[in-house]
């Protein structure tokens, strides 16, 4: 009896009482909550346009600034997710909505949103007068625009590719749209969505740095954060402060990676339908920690029950009725579609009309041609960059990819570097240019590719690492020379991966041109000839028609080159060079 009781008490105790791991986890959770609360109070502090915000270069304030930046990133991420869930799903489920949403997102993706920032700030300040909320929202909006399109498009594509048998099973068992969304659509797209989010994050860091210090109509608005710290350091020409900021950024990215993304990715493994051979499981110490705790595990179970109830909320339940006839909309499917198409077409026509009218009203033909010329200059930069970058990184990537041991070390480092906002490094390059009196038009060019070259590198690594071993052995067996081996095996083999990387890199380079073609250090400002510098210049002046013209031309160029060069290459890669 006693033994029984003891063992009972033992299991009882073991089940309910916290262990050491609980303590560690508890501190972590409490710490994060406290920091966030402090931050939220700062955000809603009163503010007037024109009021100067002092940014101290004292490194002891830097962690505080970093936290503000992180918080902005986090909020933007939540909004991006909301946007993704609503519009991605809507487009995937409704043919009519799809016809409007998807092209819109596609265009938004290629718009260099940095140029729009000043417009957004004015709008948000009007929305929240007398409060920091205005500029805060504008910064968050800028980050949002760097992530949301990519995430929503990816989500839309995966939701549409949910296997038809799962859709049929859901129909057969009468799942309501709400249950279907949470039980099928979201889990199915989760691994892809997380991967996309991680990639978008790096764009996000870039934008948060750029958007914390913005000039609107010759007035600089500084939001406390790493970006504005850098801006302050640049105008004070303080190299030490720049170094602090770079180090801080590295730490922040590391923490984000360890506390947020690694745990999520490790957790999302279970949503993959099949383990693809050779793929390594990603482990996370944080997930391991929470697995070892007791209280938090019980909490996790409670969360599962809560999630369960959330999915099964009564108001979203399917109605137990049997449809007696075909719904009205479906019976008149073609008529409804026709009307919808006409509406869309009219809308497009009206906007084209407005645009043409607007452009002719404000600009002479020579101005337009000049801006187009600037666009071609920037395009030339992008092309030269992508070629140089390929010449450097393709051999390196192949070398690494063919050696699994090296790849295991290099891959995460490359991903980490990709997340680092390279605009933090601009001052260093600027100092070098000034020091050695280099040609501005040539030497600011590398700035544009600094952040995006990693996409080429890790895509090539990925491609080289999946080159079939037997093919490499055949090449050895036939003792192919180096050149023949590259031409016949390696280059065709990595081509699809390389193209994917190159397309991403080119998109990023266009966007970066806005901040990279006009850089400053202290009182010196270096301006290169190019469309990016043009947009930046008029943004500082607050001249909206010129900003609009610049951005319009840039959008057209990006779309034009995409259709003309990259899309055909992509199709070729898909059809001709795909390994079976």
């Amino acid at each position: 009896m006693n033994i029984l009781r003891n063992s009972f008490m033992g299991t009882y105790r073991a089940r309910l009482y916290p262990n050491y791991w609980d303590l560690v986890a508890l501190f972590l959770v409490l710490g994060v909550i406290m920091l966030l609360a402090w931050d939220a109070r700062q955000m809603s502090a009163p503010y007037q346009l024109g009021q100067a915000i002092h940014i101290s270069l004292d490194p002891k304030y830097l962690p505080g600034y970093a936290l503000r930046t992180v918080m902005r990133m986090f909020l933007a991420l939540i909004f991006s997710l909301l946007f993704t869930f609503i519009f991605g799903t809507w487009a995937a489920k409704s043919k009519r909505a799809e016809r409007l949403i998807i092209p819109l997102i596609d265009i938004c993706q290629s718009i260099p949103i940095l140029g729009f920032l000043s417009i957004a700030i004015v709008a948000f300040i009007a929305l929240f007068p007398h409060s920091m909320m205005g500029p805060e929202c504008a910064a968050i909006f800028a980050i949002f625009t760097s992530q949301a399109w990519n995430m929503a498009l990816g989500f839309y594509q995966t939701v549409r590719s949910v296997p038809s048998d799962l859709v049929e099973a859901a129909d057969m068992f009468h799942l309501s749209p709400w249950q279907r969304f949470w039980r099928i659509d979201v889990p199915f797209s989760l691994p892809g969505l997380l991967w996309n989010t991680m990639l978008s994050m790096s764009a996000g860091w870039f934008f948060v740095v750029a958007s914390e210090a913005v000039s609107v109509s010759n007035q600089q608005i500084l939001l406390p954060g790493i970006g504005s710290y850098i801006a302050a350091a640049i105008s004070a020409a303080d190299m030490r402060a720049i170094t602090y900021a770079i180090l801080m950024m590295l730490v922040v990215i590391l923490i984000y990676d360890q506390l947020l993304f690694r745990p999520l990715v490790s957790w999302a493994e279970k949503f993959k339908a099949e383990q693809v051979g050779g793929e390594r499981e990603i482990d996370s110490w944080l997930v391991d920690l929470f697995h070892r705790t007791r209280w938090f595990r019980i909490l996790g179970q409670k969360m599962t029950i809560f999630f369960d109830a959330f999915i099964n909320i009564a108001i979203f339940r399917s109605r137990p009725f049997m449809p007696q006839s075909v719904p009205w909309v479906e019976r008149h499917e073609s008529a409804v579609n026709g009307v919808w198409n006409v509406v869309l077409f009219l809308l497009a026509l009206i906007s084209v009309g407005c645009l043409v009218h607007y452009i002719w009203e404000y600009f002479a033909l020579s101005t337009i041609l000049h801006v187009m010329y600037l666009g071609l200059v920037t395009a030339l930069r992008v092309f030269v960059l992508i070629i140089v970058c390929s010449l450097v990184w393709v051999p390196v990537g192949v070398w690494v990819g063919l050696r699994p041991n090296v790849a295991r070390v290099v891959q995460p480092v490359a991903q980490f570097l990709a997340a680092f906002p390279t605009n933090l490094l601009y001052p260093i390059v600027v100092v070098l240019i000034i020091r050695f009196h280099l040609n501005v038009n040539i030497w600011v060019t590398p700035l544009m590719i600094l952040g995006v070259q990693w996409y080429v590198l890790f895509n090539v690594i990925a491609g080289a690492s999946v080159l079939p071993k037997d093919l490499l052995q055949v090449a050895d067996n036939l003792s192919l020379g180096i050149w023949l081996r590259w031409r016949r095996l390696i280059l065709p083999g990595i081509f699809p991966y390389y193209i994917t990387g190159a397309i991403t890199a080119v998109g990023g380079a266009w966007n970066a041109s806005i901040v990279a073609e006009m850089v400053s250090w202290g009182n010196t400002t270096l301006v290169a000839t190019g469309l990016g510098a043009y947009i930046e210049e008029y943004t500082n002046k607050g001249d909206f028609p010129h900003i609009a013209l610049g951005i319009g031309i840039m959008c057209m160029m990006v779309l034009f080159f995409n259709r003309l060069i990259w899309r055909p290459l992509y199709v070729l890669a898909e059809t001709r060079f795909q390994m079976l």
Binding site: P163, D165, L166, E168, A169, D171, M172, F173, H174, L175, S176, Q179, R183, I184, P187, F188, L190, K270, F271, K272, A273, E274, Q275, I305, D308, A309, I311, N312, A314, R317, S318, P320, M322, P323, Q324, S325, V326, R576
Partner: protein, 435 residues
């Protein structure tokens, strides 16, 4: 099985066509009529692409018929109906849910509360023999166990009737046999409350083993060729001569009709037109079949079930071959038998080069599409043509996917016969050989 009882399912004049292109429509189901009575297991047997799966989905309310109506217990069906459950060929399990959660899915949709859900799901898991796997994820299970989860999920909602779409075709033979036996035991024990089963299959043995009634389907368009009652009591044994006899009856029914039409006209396969849905058969395969037929022990004539057994082909693999042999006049199929013709004998006894010549002759004579392509190439000044031209021609008769499939089948035959050459990258057909 009383005749005067109200049928559970009644299929009345169902037609289904899909849009292909702007004006063309492809007929997949044509005038399908049948009824299922309480207590019956009905098999819908047909070749792949005969529209049988589409019919099952129409009965399930997943696909709307273009014409005609489905009645479930006297009421017209316009969408998925409560009371009808389905088991899928690919299992259709959610990989991120455990076995238990997968089984609970249908109950969740019914709004049943958590405790009752769990209880009923556990009971269903118990019944289907999945005890101990409740917390496993589908990817940890073998195919057979996964399909058991599929069955448990379908049964837990207490369905009135069960629909099954080739439920055993993704499983290996032993696993499938095991699952079939368990399913029959469950059905015989009346524990599940199911009043009828309709299943789709292309496996004749499976249909004879399980069904009380077999509905044999025609292809192009899918329609009912005939119906067979299987009067054997369960459990049935494949070794039982009466069982073999039933299988012969099915083969006979599946092959007789084509023969009758053919005999009326040519004494072989009826001539086909240019848009004919040519069977997917390779030269190597049909040569192998001819060699088997011509072997001394078979003397040029075999029973189709025996052919299927010896060469280990199911009807989806066997019938395209026999069809091609008939089209080319290399063999004749009648009443469940296949016999080699004189031309077939000449072909199989020739050497490689001679075979190519005979094949070329027959291809040009009996396959209008091959003849047409060769004529087009001859007329063209540079003897070249794009494959797209032929695909769009075929799309007047077939779906886009089928058009491509048929053209590539003909291209393979044409290359073997050295009738024309084909360049994969440019999609160009030409008369000359590549340099």
């Amino acid at each position: 099985m009383q005749e005067n009882e109200q049928p559970i399912i009644e299929v009345v004049n169902v037609e289904k066509h899909f849009k292909i292109g702007d004006r063309q429509e492809l007929l997949v189901l044509h005038e399908v009529n049948f009824r299922m009575n309480p207590g019956e297991i009905v098999a819908i047997l047909g070749k792949s692409g005969s529209g049988k799966s589409t019919l099952l989905r129409i009965i399930a309310g997943l696909v709307r018929p273009s014409e005609g109506t489905i009645y479930y217990r006297g009421k017209a069906v316009h969408g998925p109906v409560r009371g009808i459950s389905m088991v899928f060929q690919s299992f259709a399990l959610l990989p991120w849910l455990t076995v238990l959660q997968n089984v609970e899915l249908g109950l969740e949709a019914l709004g049943i509360d958590r405790d009752e859900r769990r209880e009923r799901a556990l009971k269903a898991i118990d019944t289907i023999g999945l005890d101990g796997f409740e917390s496993a994820f589908p990817k940890e299970l073998s195919g057979g166990m996964r399909q058991r989860v599929g069955f448990a999920r379908a049964l837990v909602v207490n369905p009135d009737i069960l629909l099954m779409d080739e439920p055993f075709s993704a499983l290996d033979v032993l696993t499938a046999d095991n699952l079939k036996t368990d399913l029959l035991d469950l059905w015989e024990s009346k524990k599940t409350g199911i009043n009828g089963i309709i299943f789709v299959t292309h496996n004749i043995e499976e249909a004879v083993l399980l069904a009380d009634r077999i509905i044999v389907f025609n292809s192009n368009p899918g329609s009912i060729r005939g119906e067979l009652k299987v009067p054997l009591a369960h459990p049935r044994s494949e070794l039982d001569p009466r069982f073999r006899n039933q299988i012969d009856r099915v083969y006979t029914m599946m092959t007789t009709k084509i023969q009758e039409i053919g005999e009326a006209q040519h004494g072989g396969h009826a001539p086909i037109d240019i848009g004919y849905r040519l069977p997917e058969a390779s030269v190597a395969e049909f040569t192998g079949l001819l060699e088997t037929l011509n072997a001394p022990e078979n003397d040029g004539k075999m029973d189709l079930p025996v052919v299927a057994d010896t060469l280990m082909l199911d009807i989806d693999e066997l019938f395209p071959l026999t069809e091609l042999l008939e089209i080319l006049h290399f063999a004749k199929v009648s009443k469940g038998d296949i016999a080699i013709t004189e031309e077939g004998k000449a072909f199989v006894e020739a050497d490689i080069l001679e075979r190519k010549k005979i094949f070329l002759r027959h291809l040009k004579k009996y396959v209008p599409l091959a003849r047409y392509i060769s004529e087009q190439l001859n007329h063209h000044p540079r003897h070249r043509a794009l494959e797209e031209n032929f695909i769009s021609l075929l799309e007047d008769y077939l779906t886009e996917k089928e058009a491509e499939r048929v053209l590539h089948t003909v291209i393979e035959w044409g290359r073997y016969a050295e009738l024309f050459a084909y360049d994969y990258n440019s999609g160009v057909l030409s008369l000359e050989n590549p340099n």
